[in-house]
């Protein structure tokens, strides 16, 4: 129980640190969002000193840094990241309300990534045909190397314009979900495939595999009944990374496919230097990462009873490997 509490405390510290980091980057680096706001909204150069002072006071950028930080942290604890500089809406609301369509694409992409990435790893290490194994195991490094914005555009070209099978743009209906999800699944599936294949190869070289084989277990039984079960556990530590990837990848895919969602909101916010919205997105990403890792860490002893005594030990080691 104390281990759980300690792990929870760690998660909260990481989240706080992510907030602090984003504060340092966004609020302390040079660049003046107030001037950007006046520039975009009120005709910029014509803004009087009084106007500038008023807007600066409104956004609290005149306070000493530590006071600003304290205020923002206190507000963030209540889920308030300030008002969007561009639209004036609540930044948290703006990001959270864009979440459902992003989650839909990400969820579908995750399924595709696990099925195909995992499938490639399992088949690539299982098959006896060497050419097939080479072919399959060379796919993940290829998948990681392709720019996803380009893959998305290629998919639109082929499946929307040439074949006319799927809609190129928009966010309505299941059909519009397919191409963005495939695009998003490619790098994620590649990572899953790479890690699982490596993990499977490590497991297959373990002495216990030798023993199971000597006892007369079939190839299939050794592969799926023993090696895969052990290899899948380390791959679970990827969950946090994968979730982050999906969220970050949505910035690209949602722009390419003109879909609504957090990625679109993020890209739009960056293009007008809308600091509160960008900060909300970053803390949201860190929140996903931390929460999922916490869940995985707590699930670990349940999935692998050998770890019940020292929870967290293996996961930390595994993570430093990844």
């Amino acid at each position: 129980m104390t281990a759980v509490i300690r792990r929870l405390a760690q998660a909260i510290v990481v989240l706080w640190a992510a907030f602090t980091l984003s504060f340092v980057i966004l609020y302390l680096l040079p660049g003046d969002a107030v001037l950007t706001k006046l520039g975009s909204a009120d005709g910029g150069i014509n803004a009087s000193p009084e106007q500038i002072a008023q807007v600066r006071a409104e956004y609290g950028v005149d306070d000493p840094v530590l006071v600003q930080y304290g205020k923002r942290l206190w507000a963030a604890l209540h889920g308030d990241f300030g008002r969007s500089i561009a639209t004036g809406d609540d930044a948290t609301h703006q990001v959270l309300s864009a979440l459902p369509p992003t989650l839909a694409v990400s969820g579908f992409a995750l399924v595709l990534a696990v099925v195909f990435g995992g499938g490639i790893a399992v088949l690539g290490t299982y098959t006896r045909a060497r050419w097939l194994s080479h072919l399959l195991l060379s796919l993940p490094p290829l998948g990681i190397s392709l720019p996803s914005f380009w893959v998305g555009l290629l998919l639109i070209q082929v499946f929307s314009f040439q074949l006319g099978l799927l809609p190129a743009l928009g966010s309505t209906g299941f059909a519009s979900l397919v191409l963005p999800s495939v695009t998003l699944a490619l790098p994620t599936g590649a990572i899953i495939g790479q890690v699982l294949a490596k993990s499977l190869r490590t497991q297959l070289a373990q002495p216990y595999v030798e023993i199971v084989r000597a006892k007369g277990a079939s190839r299939r039984r050794v592969h799926f009944g023993h090696a895969l079960r052990n290899a899948a556990l380390p791959a679970l530590t990827l969950v946090g990374v994968v979730a982050g990837n999906l969220l970050a990848g949505s910035v690209i895919t949602e722009t390419v496919f003109s879909r609504d969602g957090v990625g679109r909101v993020t890209a739009a916010a960056v293009s007008v230097q809308d600091i509160p919205v960008v900060q909300a997105v970053i803390v949201l990403a860190a929140f996903f990462f931390v929460t999922l890792n916490l869940v995985v860490d707590l699930l670990y002893p349940v999935l692998d009873p050998r770890l019940a005594r020292v929870p967290g030990e293996l996961t930390r080691r595994e993570r430093s490997h990844a």
Binding site: I25, F161, G244, I275, Q279
Partner: protein, 279 residues
């Protein structure tokens, strides 16, 4: 199942042509960055309106865009800016990351603990979001994009450098150097850095491919070079409105990026493999 030695041999032999091809491609891209005139005599900025939206042909290898500019010429001239941004990004990650890792590993204690937690957090936020945050703060432009990509990649360098410093620190030769009266700066310069340089440089080559991808992604989103200037990601973005009619405007510049990333990854994996075999 064959033992690992024979497997490695069968692995590497048929793939050697790939390695050669990768080296040739990267050499060509480097040449294009330094002397674009070697590859094309056409103007990348001003086009010939009469020749707009032409499909690829011997006269225009990659076709022409909506204002009649030769896409191949734009890709060739874009190499310079794209590569400079990538190199700057890798340098930022390498220098800043290595300095942080060196300091943390060397000083140890609370400083190490604090610095490494910051590095943990850098890795908890996805790279693209982190670099978008930096771009939000610094503003747009290729240089800022490069710095942003560098920042989002420095955590891995800090980690590796720290691990190397810790490894070398406890070694016998450092102990004997200390015992014979060499001061810490001397130990750092003479023993720690040369020993850590290898793995860190391999990581730098591995990061190169990632940096090409991230720089081009950010410039695709429109945060990099301003329009008339050719830059790879921006070129792909520029062809978006002509997807249905002019496939070459997006496909061929994007293919260039993909080929460069694949080639760098292939080369750095070869370097990495050589290193681990030497060990």
């Amino acid at each position: 199942m064959p033992d690992s030695v024979t497997r490695r041999r069968t692995w590497s032999l048929p793939r050697q042509p790939g390695l050669v091809l990768s080296a040739v491609l990267l050499a060509a891209v480097l040449l294009a960055a330094v002397a674009p005139g070697v590859f094309t005599g056409q103007d990348p900025i001003t086009g010939v309106p009469a020749e707009r939206l032409r499909a690829p042909s011997p006269a225009h290898l990659f076709g022409t865009d909506e204002t009649g500019r030769d896409v191949f010429a734009r890709v060739v001239h874009g190499a310079s800016l794209s590569l400079r941004a990538t190199v700057l990004a890798v340098l930022v990650a390498l220098v800043a990351g290595a300095a942080i890792g060196l300091l943390a590993g060397f000083r140890g204690g609370w400083l190490d603990a604090v610095v490494m937690r910051v590095v943990d957090v850098l890795q908890a936020v996805p790279a693209i979001l982190l670099s978008l945050a930096v771009v939000t703060a610094l503003g747009f432009g290729t240089t800022n994009v490069a710095i942003a990509v560098g920042v989002s990649n420095l955590a891995a360098f800090a980690r590796l450098m720290r691990a190397e410093v810790l490894r070398v620190r406890s070694s016998v030769f450092v102990e004997s150097a200390r015992a014979s009266g060499v001061r810490w700066p001397g130990v750092l310069a003479r023993h720690v850095l040369p020993n850590a340089a290898g793995p860190v440089l391999v990581l730098a080559t591995l990061t190169f491919g990632t940096a090409v991808l991230e720089v081009s992604a950010l410039s695709f989103l429109g945060f990099g070079a301003t329009p008339p200037t050719p830059e790879w990601g921006a070129l792909v973005a520029g062809g978006r409105n002509f997807l249905a009619t002019a496939w070459w405007m997006t496909t061929l510049p994007g293919l260039t990026v993909a080929a460069v990333v694949l080639a760098t990854n292939r080369l750095s994996r070869a370097l990495d493999g050589e290193r681990s075999e030497l060990r």
